[in-house]
Amino acid sequence: MAGLSIHNVTKSFGGTNALDDVSIDVADGEFLAVLGPSGCGKTTLLRLIAGFEEVTGGRVSIGGSVVSSTELNVPPERRRVGIVFQNYALWPHMSVAENIGYALKVARVGRAEREARVKGALALVNMEQYADRRPANLSGGQRQRVALARCLVAEPSLVLFDEPLANLDVHLRASMEDEFADFHKRTGTTILYITHDQAEAMALADRIAVMDHGRLMQLATPRELYHEPANEMVASFISQGMVLPADVLTDEKKGECKVKVLGQELVVRCRKGETPRRNARICCRASQIEAVTGKGEGFAGTITRAVYRGGAARVEFEPDGAPNTGLHFDQLDPVTFEAGGRARLRLTSGWLIPAAGVA
């Protein structure tokens, strides 16, 4: 069936690379999210897979057959992929049912079968009673459901989502997220889901591809991305991780090694085969920082900001040893830290970011 394989794909627009040597394999039935900051090439990737743009280099195959390469470009209408657009792209001159039935009409599916399948698709998204409405008379969430039904009715082997929830309010987002997850579980369709919302990607995806400046930074499960980022970009992008300079002191043993960071000696998790080196980087999370009382092991510094957020305060801190490295952590009530005050902190754990080029 239909896995998706993106093989060394490069796409340039007039000299600048919007995608640079990207390779991603999506297994059949997998839900893969593509995550990255604005302008990193997510939409370009999606449009390449759909066939709206032609590759500059590399190739794309769907279900084992090549659809895009420098020699060949199967037109979008022949790729059997479905797309759910960010702004829904429902045809305003057709009713909901006509919108959904369009692909079947184009494929010359008989009337009776067409009506049955449209009905089925409407039922799938709980929109049966809206079949005769015009898209203009639907709410945002309802429109997105219709768009989903429209793309499902043709039973595409691959469904692409381009930030489908970006235009919806927070509450609706959560419920649509559930619906997408549910839909994926029921149909087992291969999904490529583009978003710049990390929480959304984490909640939905089997694996996440993180991109930056047109390059693939890391392709891994949500858990692995969070705990074992492959490079500084991913480390700092995912959940606002903190990246700190460190020296590796010992060889890896059982996935751990000893490092010296901000003057503190610390055991961190690491990849297999790490050896002592200088100028390494570790990644740590807010939950891995704690305040030290008295003169215990740790490092001193100044509190630069403390913002109370109900139940806890987010505290920003500048260590004396590395003045430009901002650290942040949460202090639960009772909050004692104040901006300008002095404090002593300690790391409890961390992850040694692999040396560049090893990933």
């Binding site: 759909a50 709206f52 057959s65 060949l72 470009n73 199967v74 037109p75 979008p76 209408e77 022949r78 790729r79 059997r80 992929v81 479905g82 797309i83 657009f85 702004n87 792209a89 429902l90 045809w91 305003p92 001159h93 369009y102 692909a103 184009v106 494929a107 429209r150 793309c151 043709a154 595409p156």
Partner: protein, 567 residues
């Protein structure tokens, strides 16, 4: 997979080839034929035609006259148009919508109708002056039969054009720029002089160039006002030569029409130069500036503005209608003598007039419908196409409209004087040559709003159909056509209105049996039958108003700015 690939290529190819053929036939071919006649007559390079044209004194007089009325008309149109645009956009005058509608209407009325209407207001036989007891003695020349008369009418005809362009520019003026100047302590007039007007230079210069080209190419006004005074401009000189000499003088008039083309081009190029040097691209978009409070000046300004409407619109229309009700030359109009006889005569009795109504109706409807259907794929390629050269073709479509109508008319004459090769079809002296010229000239009026429509349409609507498996032609039919049709049809309506009482092109291309309404009005007036000319014109004005109303009915489904008279 390769089959699918080929199929798509096939539809793309068909579209591309169709567009190229169309542009070659409607734009490049006539222009090339015209140039060939001037420098390569009979296929051999020769400068004789240019030489004999240049030594002829009438050429120079007509050229000078053309430039004179062109500049004069442009200047007047600029003053009027810019002033009104500033008032409407930046001050707190009331009844804007109605005022804009009235002010823009002269643009929708054919120039020869405007000319005729004005002639009825002044002059010894003016029923209006007669009613008021102010008519000059019979035999006094009408003061409008003069270069100044031509300049006045050109200015009034094209002031709306300037207004529309400058108004569009003012709408994009971010209010921060005005407010920043005001908070630096500048008075409102100083802001106007130092910030607003300088920022508007590109719009104003662009409007000036367009107006100049329109004035230079205008035939109706100098034909009605200049020919009786023997004051000839290039378009009327060409008309007279051709009317007197027939096809024998074609090379001669070809040179003259190239000359007009060059004068128009100089205007456009000059504008381009100035616009490049003053490139104040306004990038930010924001709310329009708060209107300037006229205070106690508001009422006088409003009265002045409506007096302007009375002068440029109401007065001539009343003059036109009164003349159409007159029984005969010199008969004083009163409730007893007023008659609808003139209307009955032109609609029911006069054979050529009856033919003309039918001809013009068919011609303009055909041109409009054709343009709508062609504009949709053409604008698709221009707005959404991937190929850069298609965008260059856009210029080619603009050309026949940008150049004065006389140029295209002469080019069409040259192109179809002999039977067409291979088919042997001969359309010279038939209604078909007029249709060809209308198609070539007016197509762009439908293409422009359609392109605007595409830019306002979300491309994802088409892409959604594409991933649903629809090929190019299916998408065109089921998705694109229904969505873009309103814009294209509005363009078609504009074509219909323009072509219905068009004169410039048909004056040179008509023959017995293929008269148009414009031609009929012209020949009635030339034959001294002003009352019949006025009756036909009044019918045309009424039709124009009706069509404007009709178009306004579906205005909310159109992209902004497609209907010029809607503010």
């Amino acid at each position: 997979m390769t089959v699918a690939f080929k199929e798509r290529q096939g539809q793309q190819m068909a579209l591309t080839v169709g567009i190229v053929v169309l542009i070659v036939v409607l734009s490049l071919l006539p222009m090339a034929r015209l140039l060939q006649e001037v420098v390569l007559p009979g296929g051999r390079f020769s400068l004789d035609i240019i030489r004999s044209g240049l030594v002829d004194n009438t050429t120079w007089v007509a050229t000078w006259n053309t430039v004179y009325v062109g500049l004069g008309g442009t200047l007047l149109a600029l003053v009027l148009g810019v002033a009104v645009a500033l008032l409407v956009s930046l001050s707190d005058v009331r009844q804007r919508q109605a005022f804009v509608l009235c002010f823009v209407t002269p643009l929708m009325i054919a120039p020869q109708v405007t000319a005729l209407a004005w002639l009825q207001v002044f002059g010894p036989s003016s029923p209006m002056l007669d009613l008021l007891g102010m008519a000059p003695p019979l035999g006094t020349p009408n003061p409008l039969y003069s270069p100044e008369g031509i300049v006045l009418l050109l200015g009034i005809q094209y002031a709306p054009l300037v207004f529309l362009i400058v108004r569009a520019g003012l709408r994009k003026l971010p209010r921060e720029l005005v407010e920043a100047a005001q908070s630096s302590g500048a008075s409102w007039f100083r802001v106007l002089r130092t910030v607003i007007l300088p920022l508007m230079t590109p719009s104003i210069v662009g409007a000036a160039a367009l107006t100049f080209v329109s004035c230079v190419g205008n035939f109706g006004i100098p034909a009605f006002l200049g020919i009786p005074a023997n004051y000839l401009v290039l378009p009327t000189l060409i008309y007279q030569r051709l009317a007197g000499g027939g096809p024998a003088v074609l090379s001669e008039v070809a040179f003259l029409s190239v000359l007009i083309g060059i004068i128009a081009m100089v205007g456009i190029l000059l504008q381009d130069r100035i616009a490049k040097r003053r490139d104040f691209r306004i990038t930010s978009t924001s709310l329009p500036a708060a209107p300037y409070r006229l205070g106690r000046w508001r009422i006088p300004v409003e009265i002045g503005m409506w007096l302007l409407i009375a002068f440029i619109l109401v007065l001539p229309l009343i003059g036109l209608i009164l003349t159409s009700l007159v029984r005969g030359y010199g008969v004083t109009l009163s409730a007893d003598t007023a008659t609808l006889e003139n209307y009955r005569f032109v609609i029911l009795e006069h054979a050529a007039a009856k033919r003309a109504f039918v001809n013009s109706l068919y011609l303009s409807a055909t041109a409009a419908i054709f343009a709508v259907f062609v504009a949709i794929p053409l604008a698709y390629a221009i707005a959404w196409g991937k190929h850069r050269w298609v965008k260059a073709l856009n210029l080619a479509i603009e050309l026949p409209y940008a150049l004065p109508g006389v140029v295209l008319a002469i080019a069409s004459l040259l192109l179809f004087l002999k039977p067409m090769p291979i088919t042997g079809i001969h359309i010279y002296n038939t209604v078909w040559i007029i249709l060809y010229a209308y198609l070539a000239r007016f197509l762009v009026l439908a293409v422009r709003p359609t392109i605007t429509g595409y830019f306002q349409l979300d491309r994802a609507l088409e892409e959604a159909a594409q991933v649903a498996g629809a090929g190019l032609f299916t998408r065109m039919r089921t998705i694109i056509f229904p969505l873009i049709a309103p814009a294209a049809i509005a363009g078609g309506l504009l074509i219909f209105m323009t072509a219905l009482s068009e004169l410039t092109v048909s004056a040179l291309l008509w023959s017995s049996g293929s008269e148009t309404i414009g031609v009929i009005i012209f020949s009635f007036e030339q034959g001294g039958d002003s009352k019949y000319a006025a009756a036909v014109s009044a019918i045309m004005v009424a039709t124009t108003f009706l069509l404007m109303l009709l178009a306004s009915l579906f205005a909310n489904r159109l992209p902004d700015g497609v209907l010029p008279w809607r503010d």
